[in-house]
């Protein structure tokens, strides 16, 4: 097969009046050119709404509070010395890592259960389990907030029916942390489930048959067939979810707004409070960019591993 970069698209080729193609026509007929032109709207969108804001945020994070002088990494140094920001780093890591691990475990379990449901029933269950992921997050979080509300909490009503006392769901630091993580897990698990289910369906049945002939039990099949075959999907899913969970804003903002006593703030909510509400945009930008190098570093190694394994499989 040709590599595709220099193959003219026959049907679209238009000859010059003299029967010879100009350089421009040749350029336009290249498949890579067509591909580039088709991608151009997306590239422009990404450039305008992702690349430009990202670089602008980096620029802002290096200005002083009045945005009149360049301070280099001064804002980052300042943040690192603040006790509240140290708490934010801890909570962001706790929130993201706990939530991603729980989502991965639950998603994996659900995908396996789903994979073993035969016929039409699987479609029904799959649809039902995707509901949390389909509802707009801000809306579903509001519903959770109502259920945790001090005056009208549905959970407390149920507890009261069984004779238990009210629980201040969002009023005590560790309980509030648990609540924000639980809502994130509720929302994000269907994404893991659907990705893992797709991966499970692509594992060749012959591998299981071969391992069964070799006498492998269910656990051995899981660790020596299923997991190795799903490694790429697991890596990419975890990476993607880690990035989005670290950047989460809606859940914490709606449920606790960072409280009680700053004990649920994550980078995004703290950046909003410092940058927008308190009028210190450079400090807010520095806060929001704090995880960027770490996540970029993680993304590089995870994606490199995925590429390496893909090449091994292809070979």
């Amino acid at each position: 097969m040709a590599d595709g970069t220099n193959v003219p698209i026959g049907g679209l080729a238009a000859a010059s009046p003299k029967g010879r193609k100009t350089a421009m026509q040749k350029f336009a007929q290249r498949r890579s050119t067509t591909g580039f032109l088709l991608c151009l709207p997306l590239i422009l969108l990404v450039a305008c709404f992702v690349v430009y804001p990202a670089f602008y945020a980096i620029y802002l994070s290096m200005l002083n509070k009045k945005m009149t002088a360049f301070v280099g990494l001064g804002n980052f140094q300042f943040l690192l010395k603040r006790h509240t920001f140290q708490l934010v780093i801890f909570q962001s890591c706790l929130f993201a890592i706990t939530a991603v691990v729980l989502k991965a475990l639950l998603g994996f379990t659900l995908a396996h259960l789903m994979h073993n449901i035969p016929g039409k029933n699987q479609k029904i269950w799959r649809g039902l389990l995707l509901v949390p992921w389909v509802i707009p997050l801000a809306l579903s979080t509001l519903t959770w907030w109502w259920m945790f509300d001090p005056s009208y909490s549905a959970f407390n009503w149920v507890l009261n029916q069984f004779g238990f006392a009210n629980v201040p769901w969002l009023g005590v630091g560790w309980i509030a942390r648990f609540c924000t993580i639980a809502v994130n897990v509720w929302y994000g698990t269907p994404f893991f489930m659907i990705m893992y289910l797709a991966a499970l369906k692509s594992v060749p049945e012959q591998l299981y048959e071969a391992s069964a002939i070799d006498g492998a039990n269910a656990v051995q099949k899981l660790f020596f067939v299923t997991l190795p075959m799903m490694r790429n999907i697991i890596s990419i899913t975890v990476l993607f979810s880690l990035i989005t969970t670290f950047a989460d804003f809606d859940i914490v903002r709606i449920l606790t707004a960072g409280g009680p006593q700053d004990m649920t703030h994550v980078f995004a909510t703290y950046a909003f409070q410092v940058g927008i509400q308190s009028g210190d945009i450079p400090l807010g930008a520095a806060d929001s960019l704090f995880m960027f190098p770490i996540l970029a570093f993680a993304a590089f190694f995870v994606l490199r591993g995925v590429t390496k394994r893909t090449k091994e499989i292809a070979a």
Partner: protein, 454 residues
């Protein structure tokens, strides 16, 4: 007799002189002020989206009438404060240096955007000459380096004093709030006894009766404003007017000692309250008192009329340093990048005349408080019911012997905005509620305050 042909002008001939005259006349045409449709250009204005829909309608009507009268095309947008959308819009316009000509700036936003606002002393002078001076909080929030950068408005401006259940406070705590603050002008001796100690005793009695004061210790504005009034009443400043951290003082210790008692009789999840939690507690009949403008009462009037009929707004308790009532003003300011500053200022001035202010105040059942004391004689606060006179003492009146206050005043605004928006004062109280000692709380707050001064 016939006229010789030579005397008639030859209309078909174009001479050089005629061409010059025509060109000069055409060039001079724009200099003549012709009042045609929209001759005075366009103005766009962003108002705070009032929680009472009738408030927006009244505003729109007034703006339309002004636009028609002055031949100005006015674009009006009502921007909600839900999710801080108004603050986000202001930040976006400040960054892009384009957007509306006039913005409604809540509390700290005038200082946050001082470099991008058009001085508006001329409008303020005419308004104050006519209606009298505005209070110290307005001066503190909108006058920067001796210049007014925005005009205090009535739209959205609110006091946040106590709103209590008449019968519950009387039965459970022996507090006659109607007797203390009747719906008529004049000071009462009973109101002198309305101190922070009396407030605590009433809170304790109601807590024991299962009707706690729904006072938040979260980080949203209701919690901050309450804590600000408490700290001010004890003279407890976290940062002084020169920017020095003054938290390690006897007055701060005194207010925390009072706070240590008070937090024990507040709801268990007071630390997670937002600005709606207190409203819900009152409306659901689970609380004897909240600190809030009459919005909670207005919703109760619709959803729980028996609760609304038992509500009474009154002034804040007094402490060793005086009586301080939480006050949150809104301002209207003109961006320096506005393309029609003249018309923008004219519109602001027109909307702050007594008649339109009263009309809007009537439309929102007295929620909006005018910035000028001379306008506190509007009938609406006497007439609103049930019960009649329930919001008579909602605006600060001279005989209340109180001062309008915003939390963190008198710290320099660039520090105060952080104390306010980070909820430093209610968080100190929340830490007391979680069992921390006064020394631990002061140590934490001291570290926070050092970080605000950069």
């Amino acid at each position: 007799m016939t006229t010789p042909d030579i005397a008639k002008p030859n209309l078909g001939t174009t001479t050089r002189r005629r061409a010059l005259k025509l060109a000069a006349a055409s060039a001079a045409l724009p200099l003549v002020h012709i009042r045609t449709g929209r001759a005075a250009g366009k103005v766009s204005i962003a108002f705070w989206d009032h929680w009472v829909p009738a408030g927006n309608d009244a505003m729109q009507k007034q703006v339309d009438a002004w636009g028609a009268k002055n031949q100005v095309e006015v674009q009006v947008d009502f921007i909600t404060s839900n999710g801080s959308k108004n603050i986000l819009t202001i930040a976006a316009e400040a960054q892009a240096k384009t957007g509306h000509d006039v913005q409604a700036f809540p509390t700290w936003e005038v200082h946050n955007n001082a470099d991008l606002l058009e001085p508006i002393d001329d409008v303020m002078k005419r308004l104050t000459d006519k209606y009298g001076q505005v209070n110290d909080v307005c001066n503190y929030l909108a006058k920067v380096k001796g210049q007014w950068l925005a005009v205090p408005t009535s739209s959205g401006t609110q006091y946040k004093g106590p709103c209590g259940r008449i019968s519950v406070l009387k039965d459970k705590a022996g507090l006659d709030v109607v007797g203390m603050y009747p719906a008529k002008a004049g000071h009462t001796a009973a109101s002198d006894a309305w101190t922070w100690d009396a407030h605590y005793q009433a809170a304790e009695a109601c807590y024991k009766a299962g009707m706690p004061f729904a006072i938040g210790l979260g980080q949203t504005s209701d919690s901050v404003d309450f804590a600000g009034a408490l700290f001010a009443a004890f003279g407890a400043e976290l940062v002084d007017k020169d920017g020095n951290v003054t938290i390690k003082s006897d007055k701060v210790r005194a207010v925390l000692e009072h706070g240590q008692k008070l937090v024990k009789v507040l709801p268990d999840d007071a630390v997670s309250f937002d600005d709606a939690s207190n409203n819900r507690a009152l409306i659901s009949g689970k609380s004897a008192l909240i600190w809030n403008p009459p919005s909670a009462w207005a919703v109760a009037k619709r959803d729980a009329p028996q609760v609304a009929a038992d509500c009474w707004s009154f002034s804040a308790p007094s402490g060793p340093a005086g009586r301080f009532l939480p006050y949150l003003p809104f301002f209207w300011g003109v961006w320096s990048f506005s393309k029609n500053k003249g018309a923008a200022k004219d519109l602001i001035e027109a909307l702050l005349q007594r008649e339109p202010v009263e009309e809007r105040c009537d439309a929102v059942a007295g929620y909006d408080v005018p910035p000028f004391n001379s306008m506190l004689d509007f009938k609406v606060w006497e007439d609103v019911e049930p019960p009649k006179g329930t919001v008579y003492n909602y605006p600060l009146r001279p005989f209340h012997n109180a001062k309008a206050h915003i939390a963190a005043l008198p710290a320099p605004p660039e520090i105060a905005v952080q104390i306010y928006n980070r909820g430093t004062m209610p968080t100190m109280l929340a830490k007391l509620k979680s069992g921390q000692t006064i020394d631990q709380v002061i140590a934490w707050a001291s570290d926070e305050l050092d970080g605000f001064n950069r």
